[in-house]
Amino acid sequence: MSLLFEHYNYWVAIFLMMTGFYTVISRGNLVKQVVGLNIFQASVFIFYISLAYVDGGATPIVKEGVEVYANPLPHVLILTAIVVGIATTALGLALIVRIKEAYGTIEEDEIREADQRDGKDSDA
């Protein structure tokens, strides 16, 4: 039981991770895949940030009378990772817009059908 409650932050991260991952794999709609990818990445952000928490620690700002701080380094790392995540999302959505223009659909199976219709070097 203690494993379940003491480390509930990790369970939240794992739950989100699996939700996101499953969405990416199972959905045929490209935008939904990007959403899944975002949830997947967000779970990793939460994992890093909860990692940084120190029992009884204050926010990492120098203040008189405070001895124990949370570790600020993972926060900084995740700021960078969030920027990377936003760039990935932006690029993914930009590609989806172009795909929509070129194919008229953002459903994976319809795109595959359209590709098979123009034939030649499609993958079996």
């Binding site: 991952f21 990416v24 490209l30 895949q33 990818l37 997947f40 990445q41 990793v44 994992f47 890093y48 990692l51 993972p74 790392l77 960078t80 990772a81 990377v84 760039a87 990935t88 690029l91 993914g92 590609l95 989806i96 172009r98 795909i99 070129a102 194919y103 795109i111 590709d115 030649k120 070097d121 993958d123």
Partner: protein, 491 residues
């Protein structure tokens, strides 16, 4: 100044040049800037290789902050080789782009294309030189995002879907690496590779470290397109502009192989990676599958670019099976093949770039009779193809020779058989191209050779295949010292 800061300049020069490119008007100017940058980077890389072999590993502290607190850049025998490969291919490929890119990429996107190209170069070099695992993740994403953009520039609309698929796969792979890095940080409180290696030894036998290890290996395996995680690769290489296929095939997967080597040998150490975890068996099995499946798929392809892409999957298998041997000879073979495969695939994809420039496509049908129409291009293709098969007097023979020797040394006879079968299949798929090009008639047999600005880079790489097949002292000595760095434990 260069003497002190060359490691940082290697990354900073392309990074700063990239937005400059974007500000230039579409046309020749962005190309000129990119060429200048690629050559400067190549000069820096050569300088770095000489430094490493002259005075041993070079360490550079970003902003003067002492590691493990600050970010350390570090060049030793292993990554010097990778930096050299990336910089050299960059320097050869950009001049080729001058003619090829305007023919294959929308005219309004030329400046952006070179900006993305320089970012990809910056990211790949950054992965190679950094000594900090989080920094490695950031550079991995820089290079990946830039390569998704580059791939999407292909004329065919399928380029968009290929780039999108690669984005999904690549992001999952990179996020896996990020999870692994987080778990390692949770156990050790450090991100510096050398420091990690020291501290991991104390906490090695914990489930957290094993989980981190698994995430990192799978993440790296996605990026290096190890079977069965290779699904993004054939589409991406087929539909990307020719220059991009050549550049990525020769460098991106190599750098991912380096990431795998760096983590398994330097950070985790080989006792952990290949002792406590059954990595050797897993890698060898998947690599054998990659060689067989990749080669067989290549034989059945109708588009030559896709054929070469599947052949890349198989060639990655050779590198990974050599890594799985964990002997000095095996690791020498792996790094040697890293070097030689960059030469042969670079030359093959550039030759195809010439074909696409003239014929507008790379399916078997458009190659008919090209032996007479474009004799120089096809001759370069044949030379590089022989190297891919592993015919004596070519570079490909040297690395296969080392690979077979390493397998025999361990008594891994099935691997020897697989290498031979793989080479036989390579002979078949290269022969299919040769047959179409030399023994079928073209509709219009008039000679239309590619311009010299495309032929020169192609032939440069093709001749390098022969040169390093005749005189393999340079790559072999580089690969041997890289192998000794990996087996020596501490970086």
């Amino acid at each position: 100044m260069i003497d002190q800061h060359f490691l940082a300049l290697l990354v900073v020069v392309p990074l700063l040049a990239s937005p400059l490119c974007l500000l230039l008007p579409n046309g020749r100017l962005p190309w000129l800037l990119a060429t200048a940058v690629a050559w400067v980077v190549f000069a820096l890389a050569v300088f770095g290789v000489f430094r490493v072999y002259g005075d041993g590993p070079v360490s550079y502290w970003m902003g003067g902050w002492q590691p493990p607190w600050g970010i350390e850049y570090r060049l030793d025998a292993l990554n010097a080789l990778v930096v050299l490969i990336v910089a050299a291919i960059g320097a050869v490929v950009v001049p080729f782009a001058g003619r090829s890119v305007p023919a294959e990429v929308d005219g309004a996107n030329i400046a952006g294309f070179y900006a993305a190209f320089l970012l990809a170069l910056c990211g790949l070099l950054g992965i190679a030189v950094t000594g900090d695992v989080f920094n490695l993740f950031v550079f991995l994403e820089i290079s990946s995002l830039a390569s998704y953009t580059l791939i999407s520039q292909g004329r065919n609309r399928r380029a968009l879907v290929s780039a999108y698929q690669y984005l999904i796969f690549g992001t999952i792979g990179a996020t896996f690496l990020l999870i692994g890095i987080g778990l390692l940080y949770a156990m050790t409180g450090t991100l510096n590779m050398a420091d990690l290696a020291r501290r991991l030894a104390e906490v090695e036998q914990t489930r957290t470290v094993f989980t981190g290890f698994a995430f990192i290996v799978v993440g790296a395996a996605i990026k290096l397109a190890l079977f069965p995680l290779h699904l993004w690769l054939p589409n991406a290489y087929t539909h990307a502009p020719s220059v991009v296929s050549a550049f990525l095939a020769a460098t991106a997967t190599k750098v991912a192989v380096y990431v795998l080597l760096r983590f398994t040998f330097t950070v985790f150490g080989l006792e952990f990676s290949f002792g406590a975890a059954p990595l050797s068996l897993i890698l060898a099995t998947l690599a054998v599958a990659a060689i067989l499946v990749g080669s067989v798929s290549a034989v059945t392809q109708n588009n030559v670019k896709r054929l070469l892409a599947y052949s890349s999957v198989a060639q990655i298998g050779y590198m990974v099976v050599a890594i799985a041997m964990v002997t000095a000879l095996g690791l020498t073979a792996a790094t040697l093949h890293l070097f030689n495969h960059a030469l042969m695939k670079g030359a093959l994809f550039l030759a195809l770039g010439c074909v696409v420039y003239r014929m507008g496509g790379a399916d078997m049908d458009s190659l008919r009779g090209l032996g007479r129409k474009m004799p120089l291009t096809m001759a370069a293709f044949v030379v590089a193809g022989l190297s891919l098969i592993g015919v004596p007097l070519t570079a490909g023979f040297i690395s296969k020779w080392y690979l077979v020797l390493a397998a025999i040394e361990l008594g891994w006879w099935p691997i020897v058989a697989v290498v031979l079968v793989g080479s036989l299949l390579a002979a078949i798929y290269i022969w299919r191209v040769v047959e179409v090009a030399y023994f079928r008639e073209a509709d219009d047999p008039a000679r239309s050779e590619a311009p010299w600005s495309l032929l020169a880079p192609t032939w440069l790489l093709a001749l390098a295949n022969i040169y390093f097949g005749l005189d393999a002292r340079l790559p072999v000595s580089l690969a041997e010292s890289a192998a000794s760095v990996m087996l020596g434990g501490a970086p």
